[in-house]
């Protein structure tokens, strides 16, 4: 037994009811033949009912899981149609049901075909119920209304009809959730509905399913807009109430598909939704005028999608419907496909993505500096002073006294307990900005000998770094300062100490106030006064002597 049994073709309301004798979802193992696969039933889906917990330990009895309708095919008024849903590889592996649903039906004897597809939202536990209810209720509504309608299919009527069908589906799902005392969220699904009269295609659409239309002039286009969120897994479902209802004219054939199929042969919006025609080419082959031929093509696609080649690339549930007006499709007006142009564009696009996402020749460390907001030159290096007998005291809250060289804790002492000198505390902002260091208060580059001679060398971790400016480094208690405990500061003589790993750009800034060109300003006032008096007396004596 195989799924394309003509006797199983959906007709009227039969397709909207649970079919106890219909083939169950199949475990699609490619090593099996198609027939074997069809005979392989999913034992799990034979359960009479499933139970789920609502979180309060109250078990709710659910109705039997909605079974997949068998594949459908046929021809009416010269318009061929076929379609099926398959459980995807990921759901087979997880033991999850197929969340896709599709329905095709014929209204009256005129070539008026209605079709609906839905894809349950993966993260919603009962979305397969929602997808089944949405398609069934919408298609029931469409068929009932169209049978009762005797007027022409003008835009206003069909537009209202499709919107009403979408609302009907929305309400049916909401009501089902309410009756089963489940969250409506659990039932979310996409839904796309189509009405085709052999030339004009009317459709209403919610989610990331899609319809590819082939027009009489041989062009093809993605008629729908994918309603997706920003992530690959996100979608705006039927319940998002973001529906679009439109029409395409002069349509000779169209393909409806859920994202498991659509995304495989239709590029993204950035690519202009370009369509890989070779995938649908056999489906729209002219001359499908008999059930046998249509069945052969439908089975070909069913097997291909059940096979390892397709399933190695797509693990989602799969739904595909193809409708073609055999009177309109001819060898002359079929789309022309340029494989070389396709491949060329693909290569360019791949290069563009790689270039944008993985820019080459961008050193990681440069990016790091930009991110941290600290700029410094790659050429700057630190002199290794591991032999300078200076310990890293930063983390421990200790500094070295400038006068006696003893290590002193900063926590309690303001003055060195060993020599009494005032301790010079590091600045609060210990991040070192080289750019500002090299500029004076007027914003001009700072070019004194100190700045020019500043050098940095690579360092080992945990060792305090000092710049190689020994010429200007004040010796503890150096004569000439005039004070043992200097307090004045000269910015020119700020010394920057690198703490720890130089890459971390964490610095302690120490200032000291010795300026050897202006040392006499630092003399004690009494000493200075005595000096002036002595000089004055000497000058007086000299003056008297010469007179």
């Amino acid at each position: 037994m195989w799924p394309f049994d003509k006797d199983k073709k959906q007709s009227d309301h039969e397709s909207f009811q649970l079919k106890k004798n219909a083939p169950k979802e199949r475990n699609l193992d490619q090593s099996d033949t198609f027939e074997c696969i069809a005979d392989e039933e999913n034992e799990k889906s034979d359960n009479v009912s499933d139970t789920i917990s609502d979180g309060d330990d109250d078990e709710v009895i659910l109705p039997p899981e909605p079974e997949l309708d068998p594949p459908v095919y046929g021809i009416t008024g010269g318009v061929s149609y076929w379609g099926f849903s398959q459980r995807g590889e990921s759901h087979i592996k997880n033991g999850a049901p197929c969340q896709d649903r599709c329905v095709i039906d014929v209204v009256n004897s005129s070539p008026l075909i209605i079709a609906g597809i839905a894809d349950g939202v993966g993260s919603c536990m009962l979305s397969h119920y929602g997808a089944a209810t949405a398609t069934r209720s919408a298609m029931d509504y469409l068929k009932k209304e169209l049978i009762a309608y005797n007027g022409s299919l003008d835009d206003a009527y069909v537009g209202d009809l499709l919107r009403s069908a979408m609302m009907c589906a929305y309400e049916a799902v909401r009501k089902e959730a309410e009756e089963l005392e489940q969250l409506e969220y659990s039932f979310q699904s996409t839904l796309t509905l189509a009405i085709y009269d052999g030339s004009t295609l009317f459709f209403s659409h919610a989610g990331d399913d899609g319809i590819v239309a082939i027009l009489e002039d041989g062009t093809m286009d993605l008629a729908t807009v994918r309603k997706k969120g920003e992530e690959a897994s996100s979608v705006v479902p039927l319940q998002g109430l973001d529906w679009e209802t439109r029409k395409s004219t002069n349509v000779s054939a169209f393909v409806m598909a859920t994202d498991g199929v659509l995304d495989a042969f239709v590029g993204g919006e950035v690519e202009g939704n370009r369509i890989y025609y070779p995938f649908i080419e056999p489906a729209v082959t002219p001359g499908q005028l008999t059930d046998a031929k249509i069945k052969e093509i439908a089975e070909f696609y069913y097997q291909y999608m059940a096979g390892p080649e397709y399933r190695s690339k797509v693990t989602d549930d799969l739904t595909m419907i193809v409708v073609a007006n055999q009177k309109k499709i001819t060898a002359e007006n079929l789309p022309k496909f340029d494989k070389d142009a396709w491949d060329k564009y693909s290569a360019e696009r791949e290069a563009q993505i790689k270039s944008a996402l993985y820019p080459e020749n961008e050193p990681e460390k440069n990016r790091k500096k930009e991110n941290s907001g600290t700029a410094y030159s790659e050429q700057e290096t630190y002199r290794d002073v591991s032999s300078d007998n200076v310990d890293d005291a930063g983390d421990a809250g200790e500094i070295l006294c400038d006068y006696c060289g003893e290590k002193v804790s900063l926590e309690k002492a303001k003055f060195c307990p060993y020599c009494g000198a005032e301790l010079r505390l590091p600045f609060k902002n210990d991040h070192y900005d080289t750019a500002s260091r090299y500029r004076d208060s007027y914003g001009e580059p700072y070019r004194d000998s100190y700045a020019d001679s500043y050098q940095q060398t690579s360092t080992s971790q945990g060792k305090l770094q000092i710049p190689s400016i020994t010429k200007r480094y004040p010796e503890p208690g150096r004569k000439g300062t005039g004070k043992k405990n200097p307090t004045k500061s000269s910015k020119k003589n700020d010394v920057y100490f690198s703490k720890g790993n130089s890459k971390k750009k964490s610095y302690k800034k120490y200032d000291y106030d010795f300026d050897e060109d202006r040392w006499w300003f630092d003399l004690d006032p009494v000493t200075f006064l005595l000096g002036v008096i002595i000089v004055a007396i000497v000058l007086i004596f000299v003056s008297f002597f010469f007179h």
Partner: protein, 232 residues
């Protein structure tokens, strides 16, 4: 004439190739000195090796490593798994955990924008946080916590915190989940033996990268290694 495809039925390049971005926030504060930082470096290397073994993850996973101590640094920007190079980190300074959370979320937002600009679809980004202590930048805690909670709540990111050693404040790590979160898993490992966590992380990313994005929330992650415990 039998039905057949006249050309390759599907494009050679999978147009629907999805990326899975993962940001690793790793604590390199002074308390990680010694064995923990060596274990961290080993773990980062193991992580790369594990990724290399999975061809599909190799094409889809993208990793960014951000370290934090007194400051926060991007050790490695987003790179495809195939180009992953484990950095060698050293430990010193404080624990700017909150600043790192902000930096991690910034990196994710930035990457997502790049994906969108290029029309590349992606899985929900991962934010893996490894720390052995409590945050010291408490002034930034409220804003970082609020931002991360919003991101988790709105399904913008998968938060995966891991506490290393006894000093790790796992309760604090849990506070970064939204209050209403049903489960607030925090991984916990011994300070000298946690590199396996990175292998587990790699296996998890590989699993996600193979999953159907529409069923991502149903993916069962691989069991955590025996030395890693999960607190809820």
């Amino acid at each position: 004439m039998p039905v057949q495809f006249t050309k390759d039925p599907l494009p050679t390049k999978n147009q629907g190739e999805r990326h899975i971005p993962a940001v690793l926030l790793v604590d390199t504060s002074g308390s990680m000195s010694g064995a923990p930082i060596e274990e961290l470096n080993r773990g980062l290397r193991e992580f790369g090796n594990a990724l290399q073994e999975d061809s599909l993850a190799l094409g889809r996973a993208e990793v960014c490593i951000i370290s934090f101590n007194s400051s926060v640094e991007t050790e490695m920007g987003f790179r495809p798994a195939v180009d992953y190079e484990a950095p060698t980190l050293s430990a010193s300074g404080l624990t700017s955990f909150n600043e790192a959370i902000q930096a991690g979320l910034d990196a994710i937002e930035s990457r997502k924008k790049e994906y969108k600009d290029q029309g590349v679809s992606y899985y929900r980004p991962w934010l893996f946080v490894l720390t052995d202590g409590a945050p010291t930048d408490t002034g930034l805690e409220a804003s970082a916590k609020s931002r991360l909670q919003d991101a988790i709540r709105n399904k913008k990111v998968t938060y995966m915190p891991m506490g290393i050693g006894d000093g790790a404040d796992t309760r604090k790590l849990q506070e970064y989940y939204p209050d209403e979160a049903a489960a607030k898993p925090v991984l916990k490992a011994d300070a000298k033996n946690f590199k396996e966590a990175f292998v587990w992380l790699s296996a998890s990313i590989s699993l996600i990268s193979k999953s159907d994005p529409n069923t991502t929330s149903q993916v069962n992650l691989p069991p955590t290694p025996s030395m890693i415990t999960v607190g809820i």
